[in-house]
Amino acid sequence: EPEVTQTPSHQVTQMGQEVILRCVPISNHLYFYWYRQILGQKVEFLVSFYNNEISEKSEIFDDQFSVERPDGSNFTLKIRSTKLEDSAMYFCASRSTGTDLYEQYFGPGTRLTVT
């Protein structure tokens, strides 16, 4: 069964460093998402992406964040200058563009630890 994959599974970085989190969505999906979950808290929406542009972004997704689909398979989230409060599990998700197909399928997540 096709699934969303994410790399790395765990990233440790120092405050102020740039990180890139990578995702490979399900191959025939064209809507992509990033969410994050701070330990013990709710899953929060960051950004949605379709047709090579951002559809919607949350207040969390400030100028320090960017997304890119550099090729036909990868979808990346870049944090330019990490802060301690960016420590969280980051989830990528994708969904089909088929009519009435709204299910979002999540990857296993990347645990980001900022020290």
Partner: protein
């Protein structure tokens, strides 16, 4: 409460019993989705119910939706130890891109 709030926050049952959890939300929705998360792991999609549906089944799962009360319930029948996990509801309010808004989850412990 915020969009997509589950209750109870935690539930402990014996194997074989049924587990019921509820989700309330505030805005109109296009659909509502339930997910399972094992400790520290990813989110597994369980079931989606559309705003024009009232009940849906998938294996041992039964989901109901009452749009007049802005609430949904997830029932897991004949629970197993492997059902131990956190369960989240997530609402799709049909915003651009169909972002999901998650609740705080219900932690379910199924004791063997």
């Amino acid at each position: 409460s915020q969009q997509g709030e589950e209750d109870p926050q935690a539930l402990s049952i014996q194997e074989g019993e049924n587990a019921t959890m509820n989700c309330s939300y505030k805005t109109s929705i296009n659909n509502l989705q339930w997910y399972r998360q094992n400790s520290g792991r990813g989110l597994v999609h369980l079931i989606l119910i559309r705003s024009n549906e009232r009940e849906k089944h998938s294996g041992r799962l039964r989901v109901t939706l009452d749009t007049s009360k802005k609430s949904s319930s997830l029932l897991i029948t004949a629970s197993r130890a492997a059902d131990t996990a956190s369960y989240f509801c997530a609402t799709d309010a049909n915003a651009a891109g169909n972002k999901l808004t998650f609740g705080g989850g219900t932690r379910v412990l199924v004791k063997p």
